[in-house]
């Protein structure tokens, strides 16, 4: 017991099992994707701030910035950000329901988890389909 008080004793204790020991499951994906999409949206917010800053800098800078976003890598980044937006938004609502104690039953949590992933993909495809039809991708 006395060794537990020293730093070395603490370091030798087993740590609790983490990612590598669990079978992959939809709720696990849901949790990890919420963090990953949140971090992606951090980049998205910086792109948004850059966009208004470019607009405030005049037509030359703005059209260059817009061309950058409209390039293939730019469009790819924006598509991934669209997925992140819809995923984080829908899963955020799932989190709000959990805050009220609703939806914790394993079957419900599995279902809402899968639904949120499906929604993010469907909504992103819908928005980009709409962009294609409206000529925004031209």
């Amino acid at each position: 017991m006395s060794e537990a008080k020293t730093g070395a004793g603490l370091a030798e204790r087993p740590t609790s099992p983490h990612l590598q020991v669990w079978r992959w499951h939809v709720t696990m994906w849901g949790s990890i994707l919420h963090r990953v999409s949140g971090i992606a949206l951090y980049g998205g917010a910086l792109i948004l701030a850059g966009w208004v800053a470019a607009l405030a800098s005049g037509p030359g800078v703005f059209m260059t910035y817009k061309a950058l976003l409209g390039s293939i890598p730019g469009k790819l980044a924006l598509f991934v950000l669209t997925l992140a937006i819809f995923y984080h938004l829908a899963n955020g609502l799932r989190h709000l329901a959990w805050d009220f104690g609703k939806g914790f039953e394993p079957r419900t949590a599995d279902m809402t988890g899968a639904a949120v992933i499906a929604f993010a993909i469907a909504a992103s495809l819908a928005v980009w389909g709409l962009a294609f039809v409206s000529g925004a991708l031209a």
Binding site: R35, G38, I39, L41, Y42, A45, L46, L48, A49, V52, A53, L55, A56, G58, P59, F62, M63, G70, T82, I85, L89, G92, L93, H95, L96, D99, V127, L130, A131, S134, G135, A136, L137
Partner: protein, 130 residues
């Protein structure tokens, strides 16, 4: 082993700082605001993609768009600072590294938010420069 300290004196400073609930509520309330702001932003983004420079300036200068863009930036960067703070606190356990990352997170969010909001105001109130 008689202690002359009062029970209150012994426990004072040992418990939770009672600040966690503020973070919890701020994260949820900003999330609710962002549900609406982000849906508006996605709809606006679809239209803005077809706009040239002049159209975009006119769009941002209209009152509702000025207000909502500033709210999106302000609430967004605020929510982000809370979110990444949690991620850093969960994964980084070395005190100096953690402190540096937490400060960088705050600086990045305030800087990004300030640049964004001031740029919107510059466009909204700018004179003949445009």
């Amino acid at each position: 082993m008689t202690s002359y300290r009062t029970p209150l004196g012994r426990v004072r400073g040992l418990g939770a700082a009672k600040h966690g609930v503020g973070h919890f509520i701020a994260q949820r309330v900003s999330a609710i605001a962002l549900v609406l702001l982000v849906l508006w932003a996605v709809g606006s983004g679809l239209r803005l993609a077809t706009y040239d420079y002049r159209d975009t300036v006119d769009w941002l200068r209209s009152g509702p768009n000025t207000v909502l863009t500033i709210l999106l930036l302000g609430v967004g960067f605020f929510h982000m600072s809370l979110g990444l703070r949690t991620v850093i606190e969960d994964y980084i356990h070395k005190a100096p590294t953690k402190a540096v990352l937490l400060i960088l997170n705050l600086f990045a969010c305030w800087l990004g938010g300030a640049i964004g909001v001031i740029a919107v105001l510059k466009v909204a109130f700018g004179g003949g420069a445009f």
